[in-house]
């Protein structure tokens, strides 16, 4: 039986991903800062799907603890999915370095720190799959969320580089750009229904893309074309837009 490690397992998207993998008979390792958040999900996965689920304390911001965290896992996972992220508040982050730093450290530095460790292990073992949940916000910086966007842009570039490096070791890296997803993180936003995926749609897309060794996926197909369009707007025009 294969094992998947889910980093940032407390979020709505992570719950859907955990359930999808458990339904496909993976054992699941749930990792997040608050263990008490994970225990109900652990029970749920074991009862519903008859697999083994374990819980592990993991703090993305505490990079010094990452090596010990990975070493302490009872079994080394066959697949690692990096789900954690922090949207933060753009306006607060413009004035408050702590907020800005938290956005950068969660979405970029923390992710790089733990995935470096996983990558070296997988490279040595010549097997494994790494999935990073990045964001379409990382494609081009916009005034409304460039703190989050720039950190995700860094993460997207990191995943691309990692994919290139690990390809030669037989290790696969999948980048996911979900577009809008209806979760607690976005419930205060008015998202266009047609462009918005459910966490379950993200989970299904992640599972099949990882199995098919895809490189970069958007959950809803038209996001690829929306981002193509956004990427190609000339900068002179883009900077005048309010978005």
């Amino acid at each position: 039986m294969s094992t998947v490690l889910i980093l940032g397992a407390g979020s709505d998207m992570a719950v859907a991903i955990a359930r999808k993998y458990a339904r496909e008979k993976y054992n699941v390792q749930l990792a997040a800062r608050k263990l008490e958040y994970l225990v109900p999900l652990q029970q749920d996965l074991q009862i519903r799907y008859g697999i083994t689920a374990t819980v592990h304390a993991f703090d993305a911001l505490d990079t010094a603890s990452h090596a010990a965290f990975y070493a302490s896992l009872p079994v080394k996972p066959d697949q690692v999915i990096c789900v954690f992220g922090y949207l933060g508040n753009q306006e607060t982050a413009q004035d408050d370095w702590e907020e800005a730093q938290r956005i950068i450290a969660t979405n970029y530095t923390g992710a790089v720190s733990i995935l470096n460790i996983v990558a070296n292990d997988y490279a040595a073992r010549k097997s494994g799959t790494i999935v990073g949940i990045s964001s379409v916000a990382g494609v081009r910086g916009r005034q409304s969320n460039y703190m989050y966007g720039s950190a995700k842009a860094g993460f997207t570039a990191y995943l691309a580089g990692l994919r290139n490096r690990l390809y030669h070791d037989g290790v696969h890296v999948l980048s996911v750009q979900p577009g809008f997803v209806a979760t607690r993180m976005t419930e205060h936003l008015a998202l266009p229904p047609l462009l918005t995926a459910t966490p379950e749609q993200v989970a299904n897309a992640v599972f099949s893309a990882a199995a098919a060794k895809k490189n970069v996926i958007y959950v809803k197909w038209f996001w690829r074309y929306i981002m193509l369009l956004i990427r190609n707007i000339p900068e002179g025009m883009f900077k005048k837009m309010k978005m």
């Binding site: 407390g10 709505d12 719950v15 958040y37 109900p40 999900l41 029970q43 749920d44 009862i47 519903r48 607690r184 419930e187 205060h188 936003l189 008015a190």
Partner: protein, 445 residues
């Protein structure tokens, strides 16, 4: 975020700020943040019981915490739907102790409405099978209540429409089954008298319900089909079914893609009824073995069947009259069929004994049918309410969207006591809905 919300009847629709939670501390924070809030599950009550300016969605609070496969107990968070519960328990040889006619409701909703099923005359309502319930009350405390512990809170929570607080975790017992099939018998009844006689004759069956044709007059008034059933044993199954007795055959689901003009659903039900009633080779009585889904949840096979009633929505009218008020049943049914505004089909069921604080069921006859919302409807339903009241009956709060407050207070004998308990746990009236304000169970703001 502000959005338009309506429950299953699509009436009323209100602008609402709905927030979700998946963890206890998130729930506590949301409840602390608002002066007026109501919990909402899957939106399958028909009217306004779970609508308010602020609602809190339980749907992401849906984890199964314990399943005692040996003795048949399930402990789960309140936002899980019956559909998901069945997926977990049926393959292990267990079934819901009580289920309403849809599996798309949450466990929290099942308790807040104290739902009943086709087995009410044998097994009572859902509350009878609850071991304990945890309720997050207005002061932020989570209180465990049961038939023996904090009983005032327990009886005000079962059927209490969410006014005591947010139901968080529930433990309830399950019913042992050998197969995922039901051995059902359908019996034709020429008229209302006959179907009531048949209910008596077939009362030893665990499940029973009748579909009444509301359009018939004269001798055929109340022409119906009584459907009774038992969980099938392995011996009842065909060799093919017996290969996997606890698994249902694969099925497809139809979706109602948009709101239909309102006559369509009636055309559909007329055809279905005629097919059943007059169908070729249809004897007076037939028995067959069917999967549990079409038996318990015939309408769930059509996703969004409620859209069949068109944009202005509909109300479902469900009342219960005590056993000795059979004449009232005739009077009310006649008024409905004379008016011709109701759905073609009505569901009739005999309830067994129950006397709880605020739950709907009482020993007697319950009738449910749909009315598309139209001009003059509410005045007509007010007239029916008076008849229900005259015959010592009452209306089901989970279906209600329009009852006048005085009807509620006159027909629920323990309403005052219920309100006192609610106020003891929630002195400032934090938990309130459009319905509770309308019925003056809470003070409208």
């Amino acid at each position: 975020m502000q959005k338009q919300l309506a429950n299953w009847g699509n009436y009323p629709a209100v602008t609402c700020d709905e927030q979700a939670f998946s963890q206890d501390d998130q729930l506590q924070a949301v409840v602390a943040q608002h002066d007026a809030i109501i919990a909402r599950g899957n939106g399958r009550c028909y009217g306004d019981a779970s609508l308010a300016v602020h609602s809190i969605s339980t749907l992401k609070y849906d984890k199964v915490l314990d399943f005692d496969v040996q003795h048949g107990y399930l402990t789960c968070q309140s936002g899980i739907t019956l559909d998901q519960v069945l997926e977990i328990i049926v393959p292990k040889g267990w079934f819901l102790p009580v289920t309403p006619g849809t599996k798309n409701i949450t466990i929290g909703g099942a308790i807040a409405s104290d739902v009943h099923g086709k087995n009410h005359h044998v097994d009572g309502a859902f509350s009878r099978h609850v071991t304990w319930v945890d309720v997050l009350t207005a002061d932020g405390q989570t209180i465990r209540c049961s038939h023996t512990e904090n009983t005032d809170l327990f009886w005000a929570t079962c059927g209490g429409m969410g006014l005591t607080g947010v139901i968080t975790v529930v433990k309830f017992d399950l019913k042992k089954i050998e197969t995922a099939y039901i051995k059902q018998t359908q019996i034709k009844a020429k008229n209302l008298d006959e179907v009531i006689r048949l209910f008596e004759e077939y009362k030893h069956y665990t499940y029973s319900v009748a579909w009444i044709d509301c359009l018939q007059k004269g001798d055929a008034f109340g022409r119906s089909i009584l459907i009774v059933g038992e969980h099938a044993t392995t011996a009842d199954l065909s060799p093919k079914q017996a290969e996997h007795p606890l698994q249902l055959p694969k099925k497809s689901q139809l979706t109602m893609p948009f709101n239909l003009p309102e006559f369509v659903l009636n055309t559909f039900t007329v055809k279905a009824f005629n097919w059943l009633y007059y169908g070729k080779n249809f004897k007076r009585e037939i028995t067959n073995v069917v999967p549990y889904e079409p038996f318990f949840y015939p309408l769930d096979a059509i996703l969004h069947w409620n859209r069949g009633y068109g944009k202005s929505g509909f109300v479902q009218y469900q009342f219960v009259l005590p056993m000795d008020q059979q004449s009232g049943l005739v009077t009310i049914l006649k008024r409905i069929s004379d008016k011709g505004w109701g759905s073609f089909l009505a569901v009739l069921k005999v309830f067994g004994q129950q006397h709880d604080l605020i739950s709907f069921p009482m020993e007697g006859y319950t009738l449910a049918l749909d009315f598309p919302v139209r001009k003059g409807l509410f005045e007509f339903l007010d007239e029916l309410d008076e008849l229900v009241l005259q015959h010592k009956g009452r209306l089901y709060l989970s279906k209600d969207a329009r009852m006048k407050q005085e009807i509620f207070w006159k027909s629920y004998p323990d309403a005052k006591r219920f309100q006192e308990i609610v106020q003891r746990y929630d002195p400032k009236g934090k938990f309130r809905s459009i319905q509770s304000d309308r019925l003056l169970l809470t003070k409208p703001q």
